[in-house]
């Protein structure tokens, strides 16, 4: 007997599903990732065989019962990927990342499991149509934020990652949009970050994690859905060509020539006139944050030449300069 199979109806409106949880320890995260990985694999196999002729307990039913999770009949119908890749999971330091690239939704019980295991949900993005951006934050365990060794290790990590990243950005064959370039950037208090839109989320994150581990660098992830229709969702991170660093510039007051001061502030911030006017509305103010020392000193000189009282600050004990 010949058997032909097809989907007669409109396909459902699929998107991606992502959940990230944080745990007290890397060991706890690893344990939860292992648990989810095993049940996701078993349930995917069950779902493929039973989605149209369901009978009896599914692997997720058993999992929910075993772990005291409340969701009834989880992972059925639209709540499990019917097409494409099954959900994949990975532990990243203290975090667990679960991602299904093409599904209507996923069961709620994974979030419940996170809390049961002493963790919490960092982010859950259900039914995302747009690409997901991953922001990695790098740090070196047991080293102070201003320890030169920290910068050396992260510099080395970035140097090794930079040539590897383009391969993680490659789009599917049908998707002719240009890849979104990755971005190394700074966070609060000198933290070092990488934001990247990867074609395969979980393998991509695992690749970055593997390189980071080789350099003794820990990482955490934040994930967000890119805005619709934006050519470069990371444009805001690229808004400045100022070199990153830990220096800041405080503008205490402006001189008699207000126009000259406005021009100088505009020059050092690289922004429009409205923003400059707003920036000097209430003085003193930090006109530059997280720039390198040399840039900060040049900015101070520019501001002083325009009659402003400006000062650069550098948050280290020794103030020995940038590495």
């Amino acid at each position: 007997m010949r058997i032909r199979i097809f989907q007669a109806f409109a396909s459902n409106n699929s998107g991606s599903y992502t959940i990230v949880g944080s745990f007290r320890s890397a060991a706890a995260a690893e344990e939860v990732a292992t648990l989810i990985g095993a049940v996701a694999q078993a349930h995917s196999a069950w779902f493929e065989q039973n989605q149209y002729a369901e009978d009896g307990e599914s692997p997720l039913d058993a999992f929910a019962r075993e772990h005291g999770l409340s969701e009834e009949r989880p992972g059925r119908e639209d709540a499990w990927p019917a097409h494409g890749d099954p959900p994949s999971v990975s532990a990243i330091g203290h975090q667990v990342l679960l991602h299904a690239p093409y599904t209507v939704t996923m069961p709620r019980l994974f979030g419940e499991l996170f809390y049961k295991k002493g963790g919490r949900v960092d982010v859950e993005i259900d039914h995302a149509h747009e690409e997901l951006a991953v922001e990695f934050q790098f740090w070196v365990p047991k080293l102070r934020f201003d320890d030169p060794e920290k910068s050396r290790r992260i510099d080395a990590l970035e140097a090794e990652l930079a040539p590897l990243l383009p391969a993680l950005l490659v789009r599917d064959e049908y998707d002719k949009r240009p890849c979104i370039p990755h971005m190394f950037h700074a966070g609060f208090w000198g933290s070092r970050h990488l934001t990247v839109v990867m074609s395969k989320l979980v393998p991509g994150v695992a690749s970055v994690r593997a390189v980071a581990e080789r350099h003794g660098v820990s990482l955490g992830v934040r994930i967000f859905e890119c805005a619709h229709g934006v050519t470069d969702p990371l444009a805001s991170l690229r808004g400045s060509d100022r070199p990153w660093g830990r220096a800041r510039v405080i503008l205490w007051s402006i001189g008699a020539d207000r126009v000259a001061a406005l021009k100088a502030v505009r020059e050092v911030r690289g922004c429009g006139l409205d923003e400059v006017k707003a920036a000097i509305e209430e003085l003193p103010t930090e006109v530059l944050v997280d720039v390198d020392l040399a840039y900060a000193e040049r900015a101070v000189l520019t501001l002083q030449q325009a009659g402003c009282d400006a000062e650069r600050v550098f948050p280290t004990r020794t103030d020995t300069g940038e590495t």
Partner: protein, 337 residues
């Protein structure tokens, strides 16, 4: 209790839960929620015969809040249906084996009690329920109310109606939905752009419709048809895995360049699917001149069987795939008064 012959055929366990439907010489297995379809044919199924139309297209009302020039309906005609009488008919057809009802119109969402009717059909019959709407009344509340009870919702998009809100409402509701897009000579150059735009808005299913009607300016010429086929073939390759592109059966062999799933099927109007009109008549398709009045499901099934010859004729309306030239090259004549 009698057992229908299709119930005795052994199928792979993975498909055991699907509803069975006897076709002529084949067994169709069907999941009403997803539209998953399995067609089995061979010696084991050679004896099977269809006992009811597989799909009923139900024009439950001709009333519509739009006034499209290409529409084939008489919008002044009053509907002879109530939610109760429509349910009674469809329950009877469900019992006879029909798998699907596809509501259209007119605009089905202007039919009073429509959402409740869909919900009742979902709960009390085995029918898959589909709805085609112009989207203007598809609020987020209506989309959410329909979503659990329908197989799919299709939105017909028009140049002068903003389809973005209903599409967003459907995407949010979790309903399976697709978009119907009528391809005319004027729209042909923008087919790719429009389909890609729909894909970006979350649409995963686009049905490209051909025009059936008397206005010659709405029909694609032979060269335009070939152009459309090439565009569809290219789009199909580009969007594989992201968006399902479908062509309605009325395109016939004009779309030869487009790969088809199982070859070019003959038009199933009047046999595989029938149209129930708002004035309670049975017709082969929405554009057909033949129609027969009926009173009940049993009556409809009797007509479906006894009027097989008239229901399998070509429509007189230009655009019918059952005519060799789609009725497009007939000599012009003045209308008879």
């Amino acid at each position: 209790m009698s057992t229908f012959p299709e119930e005795l055929i052994v199928v792979p366990p993975a498909f055991a839960g699907l509803r069975r439907f006897a076709e002529d010489g084949a067994l169709r297995l069907f999941d009403r929620r997803t539209g998953m379809t399995v067609i089995c044919d061979g010696e084991e199924t050679a004896h099977l015969r269809m006992r009811a139309p597989r799909v009923v297209q139900f024009a439950i009302t001709n009333a519509c809040n739009l006034a499209c020039t290409f529409c084939s309906r008489d919008v002044e005609a009053r509907s002879q249906w109530t939610p109760a009488s429509a349910f009674e008919l469809l329950k009877g057809l469900d019992d006879a084996g029909t798998l699907e009802v596809a509501f259209g119109g007119g605009e089905p969402l202007v039919f009073r009690g429509f959402v409740e009717l869909v919900e009742r059909l979902s709960r009390e019959t085995r029918l898959a329920v589909s709805v085609t709407t112009n989207g203007t009344r598809l609020t987020s509340e209506v989309a959410r109310a329909l979503a659990p009870h329908v197989g799919q919702i299709r939105v017909s998009i028009y140049d002068d109606v903003d389809s973005a809100p209903p599409i967003a409402n459907l995407a949010e509701s979790g309903a399976r939905f697709g978009v119907n897009y009528l391809v005319t000579p004027a729209r042909l150059p923008e087919v790719e752009a429009r389909v890609l735009e729909l894909a970006a808005r979350g649409v995963r299913d686009v049905l490209l419709l051909s025009y059936n009607g008397a206005d010659p300016s709405m029909h694609l010429s032979l060269s335009e048809s070939k152009s459309l086929a090439q565009r569809v073939e290219r789009l199909g390759r580009a969007l594989r895995g992201r968006v399902l592109l479908k062509l309605d059966v009325c395109w016939g062999d004009r779309m030869e360049a487009v790969p088809t799933l199982f070859g070019q099927p003959p038009c199933g109007a009047g046999r595989e699917f029938v149209v129930v009109t708002s004035d309670r008549r049975l017709s082969p398709c929405s554009f057909h001149h033949v129609s027969h009045p009926f009173s009940s499901a049993a009556d409809l099934l009797e007509l479906w069987s006894s009027e097989r010859a008239s229901l399998s004729t070509a429509a007189q309306t230009p655009g019918c795939a059952r005519t060799s030239d789609f009725g497009l090259n007939r000599p012009r004549a003045l209308p008879l008064v």
